[in-house]
């Protein structure tokens, strides 16, 4: 318990230091926030364009405009959290291995993965989290106010939604740290890091779109082998198209998401530790 408290204190110090650093260059911070916000708006424009040509994504899938916007805001939550807390750090990790600066992290009397993963927090990425909140609220109001089959929100849904968003963040984080840990073996892995972007690209749309002879195996791979499809799909579906008891398949998926989260975290921890044993300092 005492240990957990000290880890929390270290984390809060990291958070404060990052905020101090960000606030030192306030205009830069503002510009960065503005940049990620305008990128988000442009993306929203793209989806508005799509929905000006169709009412649904996928026949009978139930992903209409506002359901999809719930999905989109969930993507924004997950991505902004990953970006704010882990992206810069994991990126830095590969660089630390290459330059030998990892020595300093190894010497500290604290869990190495913890220090590596959280030492810098990119506060400006959380702007998209706020934007996601606005979009989510707007879409939920629209869904609750529609005449046919209005959406009914329950407190349990909010709890589960939060839980599954965090699961999604954990899955993406595991994938990222495991990929970058491999740079201990490979020396450098720019391509692998790009690979991460391309893989998570699959998580951006409702899983129903992967159908047909090519889509089904793809969906299987990205659900069970590399579980990026459950990252956004499970929480978004929970809110936009409540999991009903009769759709037992969906409950199975929700249960599986928990298993996948635990498994990814454990697997990435294993890869990380294995990689560390192969680390030969590159410093002078």
């Amino acid at each position: 318990m005492k240990e957990a408290a000290s880890y929390l204190r270290v984390f809060l110090t990291f958070a404060r230091n990052s905020l101090v650093r960000d606030m030192t260059f306030r205009t830069n911070f503002l510009l960065e926030s503005l940049a990620s916000l305008s990128w988000m708006l442009a993306n929203l424009g793209f989806y508005l364009l799509i929905f000006s040509h169709t009412r649904y994504i996928g026949r009978g899938s139930g992903w209409g405009q506002y359901e999809f916007f719930v999905f989109l805001s969930t993507t924004m939550f997950v991505n902004s959290l990953v970006q704010a807390f882990f992206m810069a750090n994991v990126d830095e990790f590969s660089e630390m291995i290459r330059t030998g600066r990892l020595d300093f992290a190894l010497l500290k009397p604290i869990d190495t993965q913890f220090v590596i993963s959280l030492q810098k927090i990119d506060w400006s990425s959380l702007v998209n989290f706020a934007a996601g909140g606005v979009l989510l609220a707007f879409s939920l109001v629209k869904l609750a106010a529609r005449p046919a089959n209005p959406l009914q929100l329950e407190p349990l849904m909010a709890v589960l939604y939060t839980l599954y968003v965090l699961c999604g963040v954990a899955i993406l984080y595991s994938l990222m740290i495991a990929l970058s840990a491999t740079s201990i073996w490979l020396g450098r892995n720019q391509t692998l890091y790009d690979f991460w972007f391309y893989i998570t690209n699959f998580s951006r749309y409702p899983m129903e779109i992967y159908s047909g002879p090519w889509g089904r195996p793809l969906r299987w791979v990205f659900t069970f082998l590399v579980p990026v499809l459950v990252v956004v799909n499970v929480p978004a579906r929970l809110l936009a198209q409540p999991l009903r008891p009769e759709t037992s398949l969906h409950w199975t998926l929700a249960a599986f998401a928990i298993v996948a989260t635990v498994a990814s975290l454990a697997a990435s921890r294993w890869v990380f530790n294995r990689a560390l044993t192969s680390y030969r300092s590159a410093s002078s």
Partner: protein
């Protein structure tokens, strides 16, 4: 004249050799760049199924997929990674002085090194591209008779437009980079450019999907020539006078932007003062 040609040839050769050092990484990276297209293909499949109608903005589903695949080709010609930011960096840290002292023209040198970069890129990328297009050849089966798969004229126009998209993108981004003579840091300008080119060059979606007034805006700016336009030619969306007129328009943009970057360079050099050593 021969001396100048020898210089150019040497520059081209050096850059080419420089680029071919990391072949394997190149080929793998190129293949992976097709991955996001898979998602797009499934997305549009779902949209077409939900609509239930044959066409969207004048495109059948197969044409939509062909469109995405072909934009990869036009992007391979018109993307200029690091060009504008490189120019600004050279201005800022004083490297640009080398072009003022040596009898080498900055824009000419950059153009040749870009050309070498592209040639090296294609010589490796042709493999992955051929593989993907071979696997996806079914999407090109039922194109109209005006499409490049049936008509030699269209194919020639497609190639011409692709080559011009390379030159156009080069001068467009050079001009942006040369603004660095005045601003020193152009990353915010580049961000705005990237944002607009991402959505209005047509590599996210066929520009025919846009409603007015966006359609008008897109037609008034040169971005459509970077991704959308060569592909539209290939798919047979443009014929006759319209085709010829637009090719001329593309050429005029090149002349205009080449002029702009020349003037920017000339005036920039006059107000430039060297810092550092």
């Amino acid at each position: 004249m021969t001396a100048r040609l020898t210089t150019w040839w040497t520059i081209l050769r050096i850059c080419l050799e420089e680029r071919l050092v990391y072949r394997g990484d190149f080929a793998l990276g190129t293949l992976m760049r097709f991955l996001p297209i898979i998602t797009q293909i499934f997305l549009w499949q779902a949209i077409f199924q939900a609509r239930g109608s044959e066409q969207l903005a004048g495109y059948r589903y197969e044409e939509f997929v062909a469109y995405y695949l072909l934009t990869m080709v036009s992007r391979a010609f018109s993307s200029m990674p690091g060009l504008a930011s490189g120019i600004t960096r050279q201005i800022r840290d004083g490297e640009i002085k080398k072009y003022l002292i040596q009898p080498v023209d900055l824009l000419g040198f950059l153009f040749l090194s870009r050309l070498a970069h592209k040639v090296a890129y294609y010589s490796v990328a042709v493999g992955p591209f051929a593989l993907v297009f071979f696997l996806c050849r079914g999407y090109f089966d039922d194109l109209p008779p005006e499409a490049a798969t049936h008509s030699a004229v269209t194919a020639a126009a497609f190639v011409a437009s692709l080559l011009m998209s390379f030159v156009l993108a080069f001068f467009l981004e050079s001009a942006l980079g040369l603004v660095g003579f005045w601003w020193l840091e152009v990353s915010s300008l580049l961000f705005v450019y990237m944002l607009f080119s991402y959505f209005l060059s047509g590599h996210m979606f066929p520009l025919d999907m846009l409603p007015q007034p966006w359609r008008m805006i897109v037609n008034a700016i040169p971005l459509k020539f970077l991704a959308y336009y060569p592909v539209a030619i290939f798919l047979g969306k443009q014929t006759g006078y319209e085709l010829a007129g637009n090719l001329c328009l593309q050429f005029s943009w090149i002349v205009l932007l080449a002029g702009v970057s020349r003037v920017l360079y000339w005036r920039g050099v006059r107000r430039y003062s060297g810092f550092g050593g």
